[in-house]
Amino acid sequence: MTLPSLEPVARPASPAPAEGTSRQERLAATTRRQRMTRLRLLAWQVALVVLFLAIWEIGTRLSILSKNANIFDPFFVSRPSQIVSRLYDWTVGVKAGYLWPHLWATLGATMVGLVVAVVTGFFVGLLFSQKRELAIVFNPFIVALNSLPRIAFVPLITMIFGLGLASKVVTAWFIVFFLVFFNTFKGGMAIEKELLDFCRTLGASERQLTLTVRIPNAMAWIFTALPNAVSFSLIGVVISEFVGSTTGMGYLIIVSLATLNAGDMFASLTVLSLVGVTLVSLFQMLERRLLKWSPEFREQN
């Protein structure tokens, strides 16, 4: 999912400075004020994180808390310093390099699943939006498949495709495909007849219409779905790793559960959330880049 943003859209203009100051001075003053506002807000955010970590660290060290409440018992919730040292061990410490194969396994499967889902969803969506009969014939099946809790299929997928990369990719594909497919389909149906007719008067053949109008239009709809798609792909891969695999961040989490090792669990979760945030922001940047021709389009969808 795209992280919902709670930031206010724009702050109303600050009161104008006293008469007589030059335009440059006013501009500089406004910029300075805006920068101070940003810094102040950032300081609040940092303070909240520090406070949270401090409560976590200190609470788990106070025996009066840790003895009486599970959520302060380091056996269950570990503690920040332990997570940091665990991550240090996994990367450069005593178990140097332990993390990387698992990280790459999850990242690789996420990206492969995403690419396969985007390509197949795109073509099927485009095809269905152009062949009405096909869309009508398949409609009930797609609705049925889409309304099933797709996670229920993960054990079956694992049974069929085994404990390796294939299961993870198929699971990610299974979850992301519908998202991309529906977006492309919706985009294809949303093209205005006037636009196609207009291009016909400019001399476009059906093939040229597809190349210059239908495909770029569908791509625009896909780009808006990318941040969501990558997030879903990661979810699919991790679930597949839970159900059955021998590598990946999901596998590390399941092993931590089996060994009741909260330190390993939180270290894996930390890495996984960093991966999620990074991937989604990267794809948001990519989306902005690819859709720079249309700020309205991004907002609408």
Binding site: D197, F198, L202, G203, T212, S294
Partner: protein
């Protein structure tokens, strides 16, 4: 040349068939600037659709340059401007204008030359590399017009092209359209609900009745060309022409209202 020969159009629907175009016969000579006006729902736009082959007539036929219009095929040399925005938002202005030429596989150099000419013609020099969302509504209209002009149409069908614009922008575009038409002398058929616009621009005005529509009046506008779109509205001859048509069109509006009130 355009000929409508006893053309009819009925939309069949379960509840009630809509007999949009009754029976229309008219000839429009090459190089003429004709406006079609009429109450809403009288099938003005449908007529243009039939001429461009977007729709199938239920009776009679449309001929463009002596050839029967085949539904599904746009007649050669015919340009069409919609009221809706029809520029491709993901292409720059330059690429939009070149679109028709790329469909025809025209060479790179010839395209660049033509696009530069057209940008100049449309007063859009300096906007070639802009994306449509960076332009105003009036500018986007000009881009759509230039996209059509790039294909050197002999016939321009304008389907309420200025409907969504403010008066100021609309008048500026009127001036540009008249200028372009005086240079290139295409056959222009303008569908509009704005009688002011029709009198300002056209040499001949066809007034349609309420559906099933027929021609109520075929009026020649005797205002000499070239016209200045800003001052022409103030002249007595403009008022005279306006009144002659309004006498017929206003009556039609009134009856339409009476029918609606009775229903």
């Amino acid at each position: 040349m355009i000929r409508l020969d006893r053309i009819e159009k009925t939309y069949f629907a379960r509840e009630r068939d809509v007999h949009a175009i009754g029976n229309i016969t008219a000839t429009i000579a090459a190089g003429e600037f004709v406006a079609i006006v009429g109450p809403s729902g009288c099938g003005k736009s449908t007529l243009l659709h039939l001429l461009a082959g977007f729709d199938v007539p239920t009776g009679g036929e449309a001929l463009v340059d002596g050839r029967r219009v085949v539904p599904g095929t746009v007649p050669k040399g015919l340009g069409y401007i919609f009221q809706k925005d029809t520029v491709l938002p993901w292409k720059r202005v330059r690429e939009n204008i070149a679109l028709g030429l790329t469909y025809r596989n025209v060479g790179r150099a010839a395209i660049d030359k033509k696009v530069a000419e057209l940008l100049k013609l449309g007063n859009l020099e300096g906007f070639g590399d802009a994306y449509p969302h960076q332009l105003s509504g009036g500018m986007r209209r000009r881009v759509a017009l230039l996209m059509t002009l790039a294909c050197d149409p002999q016939i321009l069908l304008l389907d309420e092209p200025f409907g969504a614009l403010d008066t100021h922008t609309r008048t500026l575009l009127h001036r540009e359209l008249i200028g372009i038409w005086r240079q290139m002398r295409q056959t222009v058929v303008l569908v509009t609900h704005d009688l002011d616009e029709a009198v300002t621009l056209s040499d001949r005005i066809i007034v349609l009745s309420r559906p099933p529509s027929r021609i109520l009046l075929d009026h020649r506008v005797d205002i000499p060309q070239p016209r200045d779109v800003f001052s022409v509205r103030d002249t007595p001859v403009f008022t005279e022409n306006f009144r002659t048509i309004w006498r017929v069109l206003g009556e039609e509006f009134r009856e339409g209202t009476a029918v609606e009130a009775a229903a």
